[in-house]
Amino acid sequence: MRKIYNKVLSVSGNVITVKATDVGYEDLAEITTRLGKSLAQVIKLEDDIVSLQVFAGSRGVSTTDEVRFLGRSMQVAFSDNMLGRIFNGSGMPRDGGPEITENLISIGGPSVNPAKRIIPRRIVRTNIPMIDVFNSLVASQKLPIFSVSGEPYNELLARIALQAEVDMIILGGIGLKFDEYMKFRNTLEDGGALNKSIFFVHTASDPVVEGLMVPDLSLAVAEKFALQGKEVLVLLTDMTNFSDALKEIAITMEQVPSNRGYPGDLYSQLASRYEKAVDFDGAGAITILAVTTMPGDDVTHPVPDNTGYITEGQFYLRNGRIEPFGSLSRLKQQVNKDTRDDHRAIMDGMIQLYAQYLETEEKRSMGFRMSTWDKKLQKYGKLFESGMMDLSVNIPLEEALDRGWSILAECFSTEETGLRSELIKKFWPKKTESKGTEV
């Protein structure tokens, strides 16, 4: 079969070099160390010196270890049997089930021809008002959740996964804490969604390099299912860990860092993953929701910054709520005109009033006098936060819009809302019903 090499020339970080010929760029090799077998990928060729990044890390690699080149690049199985299964960052089962080797496909495939994309136009309902009403998620959208560590972003992802109207879910975990990963699994199992999910999980205790493959594995499988006409939702958490793994390899390879140690191609690396989100002309779609934790809550940090330039908007998760300001779905205009007449009006109107409430709060904290209008805003702000922003609110879009009207009716008179009169005529709740309703 393939040639086997027995001499490792250098070990530096998680990169080893071997003298070998007839090796393709990005090919895989299998290295057997005293700690077991691991996959490694070719990242540089220079004459007959081959540099490989070792997925399991270089710990325990000795200079006489066996390196066997597989003569192919990274592949992953693609089959319906994968549903409900959990794999690691090398695509091997991590749930004790059998290995799946049928129908192997290459990962990191070519990009989609823009001529074969279509303008996205289907809303993905999540039953979270802050998303459905204010920043609708659209099939084929790529959206990150910007957040600091400690926020319930994984709970949010799990909930969206459970409630989104999609055919299947692929979760790519990069540097996921073990308990987070178990929670994900249990949530989906309890919700009965496990059998339409595939997990590729790299936990925080796994070797860093292995995490690099997770987005590509997840997206390669997603792409195949989408081509079969499936609506696929891909969840990636956390892409900052992915970027940090890239940084680690780049530094080991002595590449010139561009910004805070990150490699110059960070943008292209992230883009080639996020751009897999697509609505195929005549087939299914891939929607990507990713978590990007912002070190120090700094949105100008290279990872969130580059991500923001790539994705179609972002959700800010702060203090356990999706922030109405800063959060943006660039594609919402494509869908929210067709949901219900009052959707756009409620979306803009309620946010403007909430902005005024925040100004009032600022005034109050500075000790200025509160007018009647200010008091109305204060009441409104509280109701808005508890009835709409709270992540525990779990209602369909139409109900959320109705609730919006009832909150407005409870706090303001019709003219004070600044909404168009025809909408008010149609949707404004009758006096008796609005008093002390469910909110």
């Binding site: 495939g109 021809n113 191609d265 883009a271 949105v299």
Partner: protein
């Protein structure tokens, strides 16, 4: 000609190190042979018998020892009829044809003809046997959408040439010989309706460049009135993500008063260019009544497409722009985003292990940016006609901080700066061009004094606003408060423009002048108010009326009656000395 070949000895990312014998040229195209696929690449450095090539495709699976075939040609584009309405990738591969042949994905190593081989064009000659011509002279023309597409003497033929033969009026394909010309040395050259030109060499087949003074009307009020662009000029739009760079470019590509628009989507989201691709054929150009696509060329090299081709795409777009300028047309090139292009240079420079400059950008970043913008310009052609190429580039500064190398290098060479601000976009004040930080060296068609007055108020209003943040509204004098209200008024009714409203989205120059005059009068007027509250109510009222005015069709009945009601409102509150 002997085919020169080389052997790969190193691969790192999209860069190959190749050993060769014999002659090769800097920027020459080579093809790395991988099975059936020929991966296009370009020589970017030569060292002894080693050449460094950037590959325009993924290098996956290439091996040390694989062959590279050199072409002896510089990276070039095809110039000829059929470019308009096309959608190309960064190397001029037509994307719709690729999709037809290869389905959903962009295959590796496939190169298609940029211009249709079989299509016949109706050619009308403009010269006769014996005529003296030079490069860039018109030999004849063919109709292409609504334009006369001139068939020119190829730009690579130097000196004075004599027409030896010219085909009669008739239908020909681009490959058929339509003329033969003799150069000064007596050598004959066949000319067909297309030729190739290296993308990195500026086209200079004209008499001379002239100073750009004629305004390029974009119909965006804040640009045309406050920060205008001239035909043949250069401008840049830096801004953080989400500030609306791309939307601004999209609006400009729709409404700009030019003949031809070239959109270079360079390393940005595919979804955005898909919108343009799908919508433009449906949209009607108000100037011609034809589809907008008929005046458009799209170069789409989106963020997930190969990085090296991204670097090339900007040059490809520029060359096509220069080609149409040679026909006496006004061309607008919109590059979104030049930062991605600069990043592509940075990636490459890193792989070449060059000594990095600031933020790891190569030291030649500034000169490359300057070279690019310098290809813009208004030129006087050999037939005394004028043609122009205007370049507008967006910049995506890291963290939205304008102090970074790409923004700074760009600001040095452009003549107008439309800086987008996050505060303005967060406040939903679109277009989010900052009225105090932006600048332009070109002259507006609106009277200087009028614009200056408005600018004054914007500046003073902003100062008052700063003060109000500290002392509160109660502590602000009525006089200052009115200045603030006036500045907010200009902002709301003139600087801000609703891109989604069919009327407000595009304001023609006459209307801009007209409305600015009205605003000038309001700014100069003194009003009688008893307190801040009354002043606020008045200006909010005026603002509402003005916005409705903006939404009404120019010179329609609605427009006239709204104008009357505005005048009435003003007269009612004016202070009469």
């Amino acid at each position: 000609m002997n085919q020169q070949t080389g052997t790969i000895i190193g691969i790192s990312g999209n860069m190959l190190t190749v050993t060769f014998e014999g002659t090769i040229t800097q920027n020459e195209v080579g093809y790395a042979v991988h099975g059936d696929a020929h991966l296009k690449s370009e020589v970017i450095r030569i060292q002894g018998n080693k050449a460094f090539l950037q590959v325009f495709e993924s290098t996956k699976g290439l091996k040390v020892g694989d062959t590279v075939e050199f072409s002896d040609e510089l990276l070039s584009v095809q110039l000829g009829p059929g470019l308009l309405t096309q959608i190309y990738d960064g190397l001029q591969n037509p994307l719709p044809e690729l999709a037809e042949a290869h389905g959903f994905f962009l295959p590796r190593g496939v190169i298609l003809d940029a211009l249709s081989k079989g299509r016949k064009w109706h050619f009308t000659p403009l010269v006769q046997k014996g005529d003296k011509v030079r490069k860039g002279y018109y030999l004849g023309w063919v109709p292409e959408t609504q334009f006369k597409h001139y068939i020119m003497v190829p730009y690579y033929l130097e000196g004075e040439l004599t027409v030896e033969s010219i085909r009669k009026e008739g239908d020909y394909t681009i490959r058929e010989i339509i003329a033969t010309v003799k150069d000064e040395k007596g050598q004959m050259h066949d000319v067909s309706m297309y030729f190739e030109w290296p993308v990195k060499l500026p086209v200079k087949a004209y008499k001379h460049k002239i100073l750009p003074t004629q305004p390029l009307v974009t119909k965006a009020r804040i640009i045309d009135t406050f920060f205008p662009v001239a035909k043949g000029g250069t401008y840049c739009i830096p801004g953080p993500f989400g500030a609306g760079k791309t939307v601004l470019q999209q609006i400009t590509s729709r409404y700009a008063d030019v003949d031809i628009v070239i959109i270079a989507a360079c390393g940005e989201r595919a979804g955005e260019i898909v919108e343009t691709m799908r919508e433009f054929p449906e949209l009607i150009d108000p100037r011609t009544g034809k589809s907008l696509m008929e005046r458009t060329i799209i170069i789409a090299n989106t963020s997930s497409m190969p990085v090296a081709a991204r670097e090339a795409s900007v040059y490809t777009a520029t060359t096509l722009g220069e080609y149409y300028r040679q026909m006496g047309l006004d061309v607008l090139l919109l590059a979104d985003s030049t930062s991605r292009w600069a990043q592509a240079m940075r990636e490459l420079s890193g792989r070449l292990e060059e000594i990095p400059g600031e933020e790891a950008f190569p030291a030649y970043l500034e000169s490359r940016i300057a070279e690019f913008y310098e290809r813009a310009g208004m030129v006087e052609l050999y037939n005394d006609e004028k043609g122009s190429l205007t370049i507008g580039g967006t910049v995506s500064p890291a963290g939205g901080n304008f102090e970074e190398p790409v923004t700074q290098a760009t600001l040095k060479v452009v003549s107008a700066f439309h800086g987008l601000s996050r505060e303005r976009s967060n406040a939903r004040r679109y277009p989010a061009i900052h009225p105090l930080e932006s600048w332009s060296k070109y002259e507006s068609f609106v009277l200087y004094d009028t614009v200056q007055k408005a600018r004054d108020f914007l500046k003073k209003g902003s100062d008052v606003h700063q003060m109000m943040m500290v002392v509160g509204e109660e502590g602000t004098s009525l006089e200052d408060f009115i200045i603030y209200l006036k500045s907010e008024f200009i902002d709301a009714v003139y600087l801000q423009q609703n891109a989604f409203d069919p009327v407000d989205a595009a304001t023609n120059p006459e209307r801009q002048k007209y409305v600015m005059n009205q605003i000038y009068e309001i700014l100069g007027s003194e009003f009688q108010f008893s307190d801040n509250e009354e002043a606020r109510t008045f200006f909010y009222d005026l603002r509402q009326k003005f916005i409705d005015w903006n939404y009404s069709e120019w010179k329609s009945d609605e427009f006239n009656s709204q104008e009357k009601s505005i005048k009435k409102l003003i007269e009612g509150k004016k202070k009469h000395a």
